[in-house]
């Protein structure tokens, strides 16, 4: 039995892993964008004055938050929903977006609700219209409050995206698994894959620290604010 030189398996598979990592990044980034937009819509419906819309939004959150991602993946890939035949990537993207939107909508709702009413009234009192209020007060204050739980959720999405390997999306997990199956070298296949996942999640954590520094530090972040953020995370 020939034992490969240490590092040679990792070196051989590295380009394949890199490709997988790009697929993972691509689908997660796209899912984050879709889930954020959809989550924002759901959050506004949830805060709407019309009862039917509130109920619809609550039902959406109840449904998708309560279902395993794996189940949604299978549903969109294998059952041909509404007669559509989806390729693995699209099915994964749709399932991840719908699933995560339910979490994002809760984060966004909490963020919108905790924007200080007094600060909004101050914006009213200088004659800002609703659009200006959103851009100048709700946005900046909301982002500051939402960042920690939002990034937290993005990290969870990135890790859970490994599940799309089950429906054959050629992501980092699937490439790692394939490499492991043909070499049985744990450290140089799954070990490298693990390092790559960690690198990607670290990137998100760094982003969180940057955003928090930018929005929080200069305001002399108060204790009450931290408590609000803590309870939301």
């Amino acid at each position: 039995m020939n034992i490969p030189e240490p590092g040679s398996v990792a070196a051989e598979y590295f380009p394949i892993f890199l490709n997988g990592a790009l697929t993972t990044l691509g689908i997660v980034a796209a899912a984050i964008v879709c889930a954020t937009v959809l989550g924002y819509v759901i959050a506004t419906l949830r805060l709407s004055r019309i009862r039917a819309l509130r109920i619809f939004a609550a039902a959406y959150v109840w449904f998708f938050r309560g279902l395993p991602l794996m189940l949604s993946l299978f549903f969109f890939y294998y059952t041909k929903p509404f007669g559509l035949t989806l390729d693995a990537f699209s099915a994964g993207l749709i399932a991840m977006s719908l699933n995560s939107a339910s979490f994002f909508s809760e984060i966004i709702r909490a963020g919108l609700k905790s924007v200080n009413t007094g600060h909004l009234e101050a914006a009213d009192s200088v004659g800002m219209n609703p659009l200006q209020k959103f851009l100048r007060v709700t946005g900046p204050e909301g982002i500051r409050l939402m960042t920690p739980p939002y990034i937290n959720n993005c990290i969870i999405m990135l890790k859970e995206s490994a599940q799309i390997s089950v429906i054959t999306v050629p992501d980092l997990m699937l490439q790692g698994q394939k490499a492991y199956n043909s070499t049985y070298n744990v450290m140089e296949t799954l070990g490298v894959v693990a390092a790559m996942y960690l690198a990607m999640t670290s990137l998100l954590m760094a982003l969180q620290i940057i955003i928090e520094k930018k929005t929080g530090r200069k305001m002399g972040t108060t204790k009450s604010l931290r408590e609000t953020v803590g309870s939301m995370a």
Binding site: H119, A122, A123, V126, G127, P130, P140, T215, M219
Partner: protein, 249 residues
């Protein structure tokens, strides 16, 4: 300047304002006093539509304010667009200051003129610094609200209101959230402002201030105006004497 007729407002079954009439003349300083829950703040907030009345007519500077409350008793989105003119003419100073915590003192002052009135920053900035100088806070221009004391924050808030070059300023219990030793620095500024001929409507619990600075005092109880007139006259009103005697204990 401001004319209000037949204003009513309820929260659920509780009538907060019962058919209130009020006329404010240009340059007048009016103090609204009375026990908690009398409807003073609600009346004040109805003038610039932070609270929307159920019925009644409001004219500001001869222009009628048209409004329709939504189901929460606030202004609907369309009306908010339509009534920005009102908010640009009548500024407000809040009990809790309500400075925007994510902006510096200077940016708090510039927000109104630059964003809302589309003034050039370069034009508004010297004006803002001058306002800060007039309240002794020139060196705080680049500080954030969290770094200021309550009294300093309220002085900045008054500057922010003045930056709109309003026709009138509404003060909603401007000193109630302040530590006692900080109250006077805010009242002094308001007294100075009154001398410049600014139209001011002030909801306050500071009886001494109302008596000395206001041209007219309005005493409210249970959602209605019980007495109004020159301070010396109103402070002799039997109901107000009962109320004032409670305060001094």
């Amino acid at each position: 300047m401001i004319s209000i007729t037949g204003l009513t407002k309820s929260y659920g079954s509780r009538e907060v304002l019962k058919d209130v009439d009020l006329r404010i003349l240009p340059g007048e300083v009016v103090a609204i006093i009375g026990p908690s829950g009398a409807g003073k703040s609600t009346l004040l907030r109805c003038i610039n539509m932070l609270e929307v009345p159920d019925s009644g007519r409001i004219h500001v500077d001869g222009r009628q304010v048209f409004y329709t409350p939504n189901s929460r008793g606030k202004l609907g989105v369309l009306d908010q667009f339509r009534l920005t003119w009102l908010r640009r003419e009548i500024s407000m100073v809040f009990q809790q200051f309500n400075l925007w915590p994510h902006r510096t003192v200077l940016d708090n002052l510039l927000e109104g003129p630059v964003i809302s009135k589309r003034e050039k920053r370069a034009v508004a900035e010297p004006r803002a610094l001058e306002k800060l100088r007039s309240v002794g806070l020139e060196e705080k221009a680049d500080a954030y609200p969290a770094d200021l004391s309550g009294g300093q924050q309220q002085r900045v808030a008054i500057c922010r209101a003045l930056m709109m070059e309003p026709k009138a300023i509404l003060f909603d219990e401007p000193t109630s959230a302040l530590d006692p030793e900080l109250v006077n620095e805010v009242l002094d500024i308001m007294a100075k402002l009154a001398k410049t001929g600014m139209t001011m409507v002030i909801v306050t619990h500071e009886m001494k201030f109302a008596r000395e600075v206001a041209d007219r005092v309005i005493f409210m109880e249970h959602g209605g105006i019980v007495a109004e007139g020159p301070p010396d006259e109103v402070f002799q009103h039997p109901r107000l004497r009962v109320y004032a005697s409670h305060l001094s204990h």
